[in-house]
């Protein structure tokens, strides 16, 4: 008898779990109209914020060294799943097998690069400042908090990692809105995060309609910052101003998004850490 293939139902990833959208809605992404993916609602966003706030306490309290180990573990998991991720990229786009393979490999390389950065952030972004007086004066960096990242539509996986990793390695917890038109590879990421020792709630993956979710992301008072792929969006900035939310834009051209080198920079991390400066008397 012919075997019946088990098809995967794509789910959201919130608080380390895989819920359907609480609204019960789904949509057919433009890139893969044959697949139903959950259409996240405002309530899903709110649940994700609650989960991210819980996860933040754990993740931000870990040492950079430990965060590096965990992000590296994520790279290991990506490596074992790179073929299926490439297929999921191809399912939503007209990219060739070679291009999809190259994209997943770039994602893995980018992940190891950021894994290595984790325990160096304090040295690179912090400083010991010279002051007039018998004091040590240090500037250290601390995470900003709960950060929402909005991935570009293309490249679906590399773009997601480009905006997610710099926020994650800084010790923030992340709510990621994956590509609207090509969400499959991004939504599969939850399966890797869940086995990478990334604590539940530290990365939350939502997919859905941008128009519906973006105003809520901007106005939600318990989100501390936003990194949005695309051109600066005055409406988002205005809505975010009420809660003094930091909004940054990853305004890259299509060819730039495809170059992993563009994403390997401390400048991506720096907007999502806070500098704390403190004085300490010189002891004799």
């Amino acid at each position: 008898m012919a075997r019946v293939e088990v098809k995967k139902t794509y789910k959201l990833f919130v608080g380390g779990k895989f819920p359907r959208s609480e609204s019960g809605r789904s949509y057919q992404p433009a890139g893969a109209p044959q697949v139903n993916v959950p259409r996240g609602s405002r309530k899903d966003l709110r649940d994700a914020v609650v989960a991210a706030r819980k996860g933040y306490g754990d993740w931000s309290g870990r040492t950079g060294y430990n965060r590096g180990q965990i992000v590296y573990r994520l790279a290991e998991m990506l490596e074992t799943r790179k073929d299926s991720l490439a297929e999921e990229i191809r399912a939503c786009t007209d990219s060739t097998a070679a291009a999809a393979k190259k994209e997943t490999e770039s994602v893995i390389d980018l992940t190891t690069w950021y894994a290595g950065l984790c325990d160096k952030l304090q040295s690179l972004l912090g400083s010991q400042n010279s002051v007039s007086g018998p004091f040590f004066n240090f500037s250290t960096v601390e995470p900003t908090g709960v950060v929402t990242v909005i991935a570009p539509n293309q490249p679906s996986l590399l773009g997601l990692f480009g905006v997610m990793l710099p926020v994650l390695v800084g010790g923030n917890s992340v709510i990621a809105l994956v590509s609207e038109d090509a969400p499959l590879a991004g939504m599969a990421l939850g399966e890797l995060l869940a086995v990478s020792d990334v604590p539940g709630g530290v990365v939350n993956l939502l997919c859905g309609k941008r128009d519906e979710l973006e105003p809520q992301i901007a106005s939600h008072r318990d989100i501390d910052a936003i990194l949005k792929a695309g051109k600066p969006d005055p409406a988002m900035g205005e809505a975010a101003a009420d809660s003094v939310k930091r909004v940054r834009y990853a305004d890259l051209s299509d060819p730039q998004w495809k170059k992993p080198a563009e994403m390997r920079s401390l400048l991506w991390v720096e907007p999502f850490v806070e500098v704390k400066t403190f004085w300490h008397p010189v002891a004799y």
């Binding site: 914020v49 809520q216 106005s219 939600h220 008072r221 318990d222 009420d242 809660s243």
Partner: protein, 301 residues
């Protein structure tokens, strides 16, 4: 002192499956918009804002009283809450801070939370709180005696404390988390009602599980039966474990469906909670402003 025959303490067994099912059904109602707004306002007025910690200080109690009077500084139309609940030695602080506001001062007494002391000490504890100006006394029943089957002892003790309370209202804490079975909850409710409790209350908040929907449903049914039997209206206080506005609204639905809207009144239904109020305020501001709120924007105490 009242005396009753021990046969009065007999209660019919509880159908646990039916009780759980009914409670779960009542938790599925959707409350939105205006009904939600009215419900939240009601929850605020029914809240016993509580601080029962070893590290409580007069300053903390004063801050809590301020919050009781005006829960949300940006909206004076909301509040005040039903009562402030403190340990007996801090009653005088609360009484002074709440003078003329209509907010009641509740004190836990009778060797709260365990109730493990002599009758004399428990009565002295109660008198101390009443003398300091507490208008409501939250007593704990002697669970040791109850679980050993000494129902008469439990009954007598409630009667004695009721007498010591004078004009103050008596809330009897059953500590349902330690009673193990629904049958015991029904029996303990019955004993407290016969002994003259003005309120029966689920828990101290120090034992888990604290207040659950089936247990409160059972207590509401006991209160209803007592009303039908004697014509006396007794309140119910759900305390401990109610942390979100959504949970609180479900309790209100349950009250309305079980005993009727006469009980939807701070004199007959209360929530004992410390963190619930902030979630209610967050929902209130969200209804008004349309944006989801940040927990840090609301004062913790």
């Amino acid at each position: 002192m009242t005396s009753v025959s021990p046969t009065e303490f007999r209660v019919p067994p509880v159908d646990a499956v039916a009780l759980d099912t009914r409670a779960a059904e009542l938790a599925t109602r959707s409350i939105k918009k205006d009904a939600k707004r009215d419900g939240l306002r009601m929850v605020v007025s029914m809240t016993d804002l509580t601080t029962l910690e070893g590290m409580d200080s007069p300053g903390k109690v004063r801050a809590l009283c301020q919050k009781a009077k005006l829960p949300l500084a940006t909206d004076p139309s909301l509040g005040p809450v039903g009562a402030v609940c403190v340990y007996p030695d801090l009653v005088s602080v609360a009484v002074e801070a709440l003078e003329g506001t209509g907010v009641q001062v509740a004190a836990v007494a009778t060797a709260f939370p365990s109730g493990r002391s002599s009758r004399e000490v428990k009565l002295e504890d109660t008198k101390m709180a009443v003398d300091a100006g507490a208008t409501e006394i939250d007593m704990v029943i002697d669970r040791g005696a109850f679980l050993a089957g000494q129902y008469g002892l439990v009954f007598d003790e409630i009667c004695a404390v009721k007498e010591a309370c004078g004009d103050a209202h008596l809330k009897v804490i059953l500590e349902t988390g330690e009673l193990r079975t629904y049958d015991n909850v029904r029996r303990a409710s019955r004993i407290a009602l016969l002994a003259g409790a003005d309120f029966i209350k689920t828990s101290t908040g120090k034992v888990s599980p604290a207040s659950t929907m089936p247990v409160v449903l059972l207590m509401l049914e006991s209160v209803r039966d007592h009303y039908l039997e004697t014509g006396r209206l007794v309140g119910v206080k759900a305390a401990g474990g109610i942390k979100t506005a959504k949970q609180a609204l479900r309790y209100l639905v349950m009250v309305n469906e079980t005993v009727g809207d006469h009980w939807l009144d701070p004199n007959y239904f209360r929530f004992g909670a410390s963190s619930l109020l902030n979630d209610v305020l967050m929902q209130w501001v969200r209804l008004t402003s349309g944006t989801y709120q940040r927990p840090e924007d609301f004062s913790k105490d």
